[in-house]
């Protein structure tokens, strides 16, 4: 397969060099593919859905290292293509995941859902290859604006609100990032995106870091993640779980490797996610809390900043994208088939969906770092780096978190969905069955990669930015890991009564803006309503009434000739007035979409032409 990809990659790079000096950005393939998709005949759509991500992946694999796609824009130099070993490892896994995610959602009929997902992936690839902060910011925002549709397309009443919260939080992060970029430019006169001074960080560096940390879901800036990923469409979450947080991890590695505070934040994250996962009743929200936990390992690795730790962060991001994608595919299959995702509404499904269970279990064993599964060869690098840096508390607390990981993702999720007490309603039980072939195939391929990475370490280790001397398969490490995990399992089965899921939600740090927002609305509603009514009244008084009055007056003078005409005119104006009032109060979501679309197209045209 790799030979074939190399050939396709060579062809695409030849195509790229044909148009003198034009460097074909892999994100461009996805964007064009996404925009053309709605025009592709339905009979060819499935082929297109496979072809475009494969071409993108082939282009990534076939890329030469170096700096490409430099564009002069005003006084800035934008760099669209910084291809080095760090950006390559992230781009590689994201390209791969876009193939798997598209295959998983192959049967989704609405083209626009695929378009949103692909533009989201393109945003992520663009951010990863960005060599300057302005380009980074541009693609950073593309990611936020396209991914929100993956939540809205769920189409439930609450999806809309969740999407707005998601957008609101990401816009706040984007503002922090942009402010940091501007301050940084003002101070250094450079837009280049490189390592910041982590020993004496400037205010600009802190603001940029806050923007990155928000996307990496570092507490207290994390609550958007379970909120959004629990609500997105069944295949939307498969995309969401891979790209936003891992692009942020990439950006942190690039800018803030060795930043001391990240070690503590990472450890807090790793444990925070575990605690909330115990309480969680919705399987996809549980998985989302475990993203927080797992990204904690990566953030801690970035903070440690040694070669081993950075390698570990990259390796863990790589492995994480696959196993977390797989877990979301498994729970997404249950959601797709039954419409349920709460443990208190599921149970005993092994009779109906045994293969889905097996694939989810592979994901669970991978995230728990079982020997021969992908997490084992990646997570341990970060823990090892903690030990080698003589930060024993870091290493031991991360070990504690990995016991929690197995407890929830490896045991709680499979047990309470596929075994345990059967809480299924009659409809749930009848609709439960193995998902369509493409979902099964996507899960099977992802499972293969999870096991392949765990068994054949050079595949992943050769891609890492620094040479790897670390050897995960020592008798001691295997014994240590098996003891922790299997005795955690013992604890799980002894405490299973206590772990029985409860039909509750847990308050998290989205409480302030959810309740605070409500207070704000309550205050604002009255004045805003007042102004709105006043404006409406002015339209009515200033536009309609005088006309009606004049019409009535003229009708006194000439009833027969003018009456009909003026009444008609008045009616027309009344309907125009009503319509104007409608636009003024129109659906915010539609207006935003149009505004974002127009703005995005303008920016792209601007950047490409000038």
């Amino acid at each position: 397969m790799s030979d074939l990809l190399a050939i396709i990659g060579a062809v695409t790079s030849d195509l790229g060099s044909l148009t003198s000096g034009f460097w074909l950005h892999p994100a461009l393939i996805l964007i064009v593919g996404a925009l053309v998709l709605p025009l592709v005949p339905v009979s060819l759509r499935r082929a297109w859905l496979v072809l475009v991500p494969v071409l993108t992946f082939a282009r990534i694999v076939g890329m030469d290292k170096g700096t490409f796609g430099e564009v002069r824009f005003l006084q800035f130099t934008l760099v669209f293509g910084r291809v080095d070993s760090l950006s390559m490892v992230f781009a590689y896994i994201m390209g791969l995941m876009s193939i798997l995610g598209s295959l998983y959602g192959l049967h989704v009929k609405r083209a626009i859902e695929h378009t949103a997902a692909w533009i989201y992936v393109a945003g992520s690839l663009g951010a990863i290859f960005a060599g300057d902060l302005l380009t980074l910011f541009l693609f950073w925002e593309v990611m936020a604006l396209s991914s929100v549709f993956l939540i809205w397309f769920r189409g439930r009443e609450q999806s809309l609100a969740v999407g707005y919260r998601y957008l609101l939080v990401h816009m706040a992060g984007g503002v922090a990032l942009l402010a940091g970029i501007m301050l940084h430019y003002g101070a250094t006169d450079s837009m280049a995106f490189g390592a910041f001074d982590v020993n004496q960080p400037s205010l600009a560096a802190y603001l940029i870091m806050v923007g990155f940390l928000l996307n990496a879901a570092v507490p207290p800036l994390h609550a958007w993640l379970p909120d959004a990923y629990g609500e997105a469409t069944f295949n939307g979450s498969v995309f969401l779980c891979a790209f936003t947080t891992k692009t942020a991890v990439y950006a942190l590695i690039r800018g803030f490797a060795g930043m001391e505070i990240l070690v503590a934040l990472g450890v807090i994250m790793a444990l925070y996610g575990v605690v909330y996962a115990v309480l969680e009743n919705d399987c996809r929200r549980l998985l989302a809390y475990h993203i927080v936990s797992q990204v904690g390992y990566m953030v801690a690795g970035v903070g440690l900043g040694t070669e081993l730790a950075i390698n570990g962060a990259c390796a863990h991001a790589f492995a994480h994208i696959l196993y977390k994608g797989l877990l979301f595919m498994g729970c997404g299959s249950v959601l797709f088939m039954t419409g349920k995702s709460k443990f208190t509404e599921l149970g005993g499904l092994y009779q109906k969906m045994p293969w889905t269970f097996l694939f989810t279990l592979v994901g669970g064993l991978s995230i728990s770092a079982f020997p021969l599964f992908s997490g084992f060869v990646s997570k341990s690098m970060i823990v090892q780096a903690g030990f080698e840096d003589h930060k024993l508390w870091v290493a031991f607390l991360l070990m504690l978190a990995s016991a929690g990981t197995f407890l929830h993702t490896g045991l709680k999720v499979p047990y309470f969905i596929w075994f345990g007490k059967n809480h299924c309603s009659k409809e749930t039980w009848e609709s439960a069955a193995e998902p369509p072939w493409n979902m099964i195939t996507a899960m099977a391929i992802t499972s293969f990669f999870c096991i392949f990475i765990g068994c054949y370490t050079p595949y992943l280790y050769q891609m890492l930015p620094y040479p790897v001397t670390y050897q995960p398969y020592t008798a001691y490490h295997v014994s240590e890991t098996l003891q922790i995990l299997l005795f955690t399992a013992l604890g799980f089965f002894l405490l299973i009564k206590k772990l029985e899921p409860e039909a509750k939600i847990s308050l998290d740090l989205d409480w302030p803006y959810r309740m605070g927002g409500r207070a704000f609305l309550w205050l604002a509603r009255k004045p805003v309503q007042l102004v709105d009514n006043a404006v409406g009244e002015i339209y009515r008084v200033g536009g309609l009434i005088p006309l009606m009055v004049s019409a009535r007056m003229s009708s006194v003078f000439d009833n027969r000739v003018i009456d009909g005409a003026v009444d008609g005119l008045a009616a027309t104006i009344r309907s125009v007035g009503n319509r104007l009032r409608g636009v003024q109060r129109g659906l915010l979501q539609e207006n935003l979409t149009v505004a974002f679309g127009v703005a995005a197209i303008l920016v792209l045209i601007f950047v490409w032409i000038f």
Binding site: L279, L358, F387, L407, H477, L486, F487, K498, K504
Partner: protein
């Protein structure tokens, strides 16, 4: 559907499965105590040289996480599902 038959086979013989699992746990701790099998020079701290240290760590970690998290949740963090509904 062979997979389903296999799962049902395991469930029918649950007692045996549990016995095998317990045996694995015992073997794991015993192996950890034999230096010829598990070379402890990779250990980073002194406590790790105790046989079965990580087994105890794993078990205590699991119990601790469940109890602390549940206590945290029941201290007011867990609430009714329609809490945010107006």
């Amino acid at each position: 559907m062979k997979l389903l038959r296999f799962i049902e086979f395991l469930r029918r013989n649950l007692k045996t499965v549990i016995r095998v699992c317990v045996a694995v746990l015992v073997v794991l701790v015993l192996a950890d105590a034999i230096p010829a099998l598990v070379d402890k020079h990779h250990a980073h701290t002194k406590v790790e040289h105790l046989p079965g240290f990580w087994a105890a760590f794993g078990f205590v970690a699991c119990v601790l996480i469940v109890i602390v998290s549940k206590a945290f949740g029941h201290a007011g963090i867990m609430t009714r599902e329609d809490y945010y509904d107006e």
